[in-house]
Symmetry: C2
Subunit: 562 residues, 2 copies
């Protein structure tokens, strides 16, 4: 019997990090460990001194990442009963764009005592939404100059992305910007802590920092037009050397070995993004599948052999997901969040006689159970799933949700099903956009938390997209994907694999379940989708009732005296 060889994959989420220890030979999960960040999401006041944060801010403490890495790495080796010598590689993935300012040696600015009370010195979490002004400026400037790179992002960049956040630092805290030797993704910064080497992964660079393999970053003139002093952001604060996915960033240093329990010299993979790293973990390494990471929101990814600009897509990045292919990304902004909004509406303790629902999942189960007994069309309802705007293909945060067809006979399960259906209709819009661009979608592969909680949503997605929906076997797809990239970083000589394709082939297991479209139901849903699509298209135009309502709301907000 041979000794087990394993890799560790660590997935850094919004509230916590999760590590898995995986058998390299077959992908079996030997152990897992979760570590909640001590400071969590910092959106009210800074730790320690209590500096209040404005609305829309969301920060994190980089010390939490180091602590999560050390704690979980030790925990999985302990639980798995493996010696650190059996761990042949480490890989990590992260939320993105989550970025921070640091000194030349990697020290975060927020760890300098004189800067701890300065919000801009901390990590800006992906959902920090206070850089909208900067994003608007970036979009406007790029549009005016006719910059072709804008089309790779469906014509619009987001306030969540790297340069909007960086520019906000320069705008609002020029001294912090000046003191920052480096501006870097938290993913790459964490790898730097392990290896002592600064790298920049091609996935975040491509999807969040406007970089492409062919043409690099936007030019200095563009950045200079955004703000005086911003022209040199790439050369002064970043790097033009971008590391491809599947590569090795470096090895665990002696110092990092002491706080992680890993062997010095253990290979560390180039960092990755949580959604994108899930793709090989669900055995998708070639065109033909749409991977949907479904949680509070959904991220959709597909691979193509050619570069197409698809209006309203989040981005297309060469080698951005699987080397050798163009990675396409789209999204739906409110999925689990929208269902949770509805169950919270139904169980408001202030209204329901003061009763508090201790298990929100029980409400979902009751509703899913009742909703699954309805036939397509029976509720008479259709919804537009825009409770948090529309990410793809309209890219508009100002669009809002709609429920049409309510009567006195409408019950909670009717509405719940309509919300699930609207999610699947939104997915069909994305599938159709891909296919029209020549990117094939023969199946949907679902991972993330939702597919395990809501079978009805899976069946509806199959019926409405008319594609089989395969539910990935691992509930920890991102961490498993990172463990696969760790095996590729180790390479064949180190007990791992030559490529992510090979690692995916060997380390994934059969799907948990497959949902096939029901032909009769799909026929009814074709008609309902036409209704959805007409509402989708007609309400998104300028000056539609939806848009006028939104601008009246904004006017009411501006007039607020409270």
């Amino acid at each position: 019997m041979t000794t087990i060889k394993a890799t560790i994959g660590v997935d850094f989420g919004t509230e916590s990090a999760r590590a898995v220890l995986v058998d390299v030979s077959n992908g079996r999960e030997l152990a897992s460990s979760v570590h909640r960040y001590e400071s969590g999401v910092i959106d009210d006041h800074l730790p320690g001194d209590g500096t209040r944060l404005p609305l829309d801010w969301a920060l994190q403490d980089p010390a939490d990442y180091v602590s999560a890495l050390g704690t979980t790495a030790r925990a999985v080796m302990d639980e798995g009963g493996l010696d650190s010598s059996q761990v042949i590689g480490v890989g990590i993935d992260f939320t993105s764009c989550t970025m921070l300012p640091a000194l030349d040696d990697g020290t975060p600015l927020c760890q300098q005592p004189e800067m701890r009370a300065e919000p801009h010195a901390w990590v800006k979490l992906w959902k920090h939404h206070a850089a909208q002004r900067e994003a608007d400026l970036i979009n406007e400037t790029a549009r005016k100059q006719g910059n072709s790179w804008l089309r790779r992002y469906g014509g619009k960049t987001s306030s969540e992305w790297f340069f909007a956040k960086s520019l906000q630092i320069l705008d609002e805290a020029p001294e912090i910007y000046r003191r920052a030797d480096r501006l870097i993704e938290a993913a790459d910064w964490s790898v730097w802590q392990l290896t002592g080497v600064e790298t920049r992964n091609s996935c975040t660079a491509g999807y969040k920092a406007l970089w492409s393999k062919k043409s690099g970053f936007p030019d200095q003139e563009f950045f200079g037009d955004l703000a005086p002093g911003f022209a040199g952001v790439v050369d002064e604060k970043m790097s033009r050397q971008i590391s491809p996915l599947g590569g090795r960033a470096g090895e665990v240093t002696t110092g990092a070995a002491t706080w992680t329990g890993l062997q010095p010299g253990t290979p560390v993979a180039v960092a990755n993004v949580d959604a994108h790293v899930s793709v090989p973990a669900v055995k998708v390494v070639a065109p033909g599948s749409l991977v949907a990471v479904m949680g509070t929101s959904t991220c959709h990814m597909a691979l193509g052999s050619t570069e197409r600009e698809i209006s309203g897509f989040c981005g297309v990045v060469e080698d951005g997901i699987i080397p050798g292919f163009f990675g396409y990304e789209a999204g739906q902004a409110a999925v689990g969040d929208m269902f949770a909004w509805f169950t919270a509406l139904l169980t408001n303790p202030a209204l329901a006689g003061g009763a508090t629902v201790t298990d929100p999942m029980s409400v979902h189960r009751v509703l899913e159970n009742e909703a699954s007994r309805l036939r397509p069309g029976e509720s008479g309802l259709v919804a537009l799933d825009w409770w948090n705007g529309n990410r793809s293909v309209l890219v508009d945060a100002d669009l809002t949700g709609l429920l049409l067809g309510a009567t006195l006979a409408t019950n909670p399960a009717d509405i719940y099903r309509a919300l699930l259906e609207s999610t699947a209709f939104g997915t069909r819009v994305i599938v159709e956009a891909l296919e029209q661009a020549g990117i094939p979608v023969n199946e949907v592969v679902a991972c993330g938390g939702l597919p395990f909680q809501n079978r009805l949503l899976m069946q509806l997605t199959a019926d409405i997209t008319r594609r089989p929906v395969r539910v990935a076997s691992s509930r920890q797809a991102p961490a498993l994907g990172s463990a696969m990239f760790a095996a590729v970083a180790a390479g064949p000589d180190g007990g791992g694999y030559e490529s992510i394709v090979e690692a995916s082939e060997r380390m994934t297991r059969p799907s948990l379940e497959e949902f096939l479209p029901d032909e009769a139901d799909a026929g009814v849903y074709d008609h309902l989708f036409e209704v959805y699509r007409e509402l989708h298209d007609s309400l998104a135009v300028n000056d539609s009732p939806m848009r006028r309502l939104r601008s009246l709301q904004q006017r009411a907000d501006n007039g607020a005296t409270r």
Copy 2:
């Protein structure tokens, strides 16, 4: 000190009858009494033998009316401490069209032992909806023949009306139809029980039985085209002699005196309809006001000096409300019902940890309180109030409710306010239709149950219609109105009044409260109304998304195998 002279008004509702004893000199309510019908609404099975009723049926037992009349008349005299000699008149009003088949002497067919198991022998309550096929035939036939009377009803008659219900008897139970010497409104039948004289009031004849003062009923050929044997319905089963409102139907018989405790010879007013009789009770006896009787649904009435055909109105009847004027009627099909639907949705005991809300009004109070803190437009929501179709001005039961503008931040109070606003927008559509036809609306006068329960709804109605909203002082407007007509039946010689105008002048009291439009809020609501109006018009057209959804729902229902 003079002895008090009083009249009794009895309002026959859906579940119960309510009598008031009123001081004729000043309208003061001396006593009131409510009597619940023993058999209530019969919609599941017949009393006694248990014959099951099909869907959409709603019957009543005429014995309940007699029993309610006797019990409440005695009770109010007792409670008021008045002798029957002080009661100078009696008036009644009723739901309508609520009708029954009877023998020549007034005996209801359902009281014949051999017909008790026959559903068609019982009273068909206003909300008996099983005569839709007959209503469709009436509409289609009238349209084909270009009958001008159809325009008085906004182009469409309802399954709730007199001839649809009568024709259903002939279609489904020809033997009952043959045995029925009389087909009569329950209102007129009840007056018959008191007076021994069969009369037919002009209000129900005009609004529910296609009669008009100028041209009478539709002609025999029309009825003959509906079904063989139906040509003579008016002459064989009804009467062409229609009694004007404000007249005296007769006097209490010796027999009726024994079961009511009234004096034989007491004048009895011509019967009336609950909504219409409320108009003089809220001091509206001339053009200029819109009276809104607001409860589960809302009935709107206005007076005009001229006859106009207004598309989508329920009817215009000369002398139908106040003698000397054309009475216009419109309606909103779901008002209190829609708000109750929403609170029930929010407090579903199966979802809210099993908690049952013992006082639904407390939920309304919490929501109204929170909703009243919102500014116009602030919620970002707009609704179409079509939870039970649209009665005016679209007259379409197939239209459905809509909620637009929902986001993850939308809370119950936002939606509650949007539903209240949609009700007021619907009222504005009716106000505008009247004014376009030259019927002035300078104020809204609200009565019924809702105005006393929901002040926010009153304020929103004022802001949105840009008219003052006056809340009537009496919570029992229909019964008070009937007591006024009783005083007119008594006449000046009997201690009453010459006309309903005089009775209304003397017997109403100042409004409880007046809500004035807030100019700033009204300005915002003008914009929101434009949004409402655009959705209203665009979703009501043929083949709109709303209609396609509805027909898909009907197809799903037809395909049901459960």
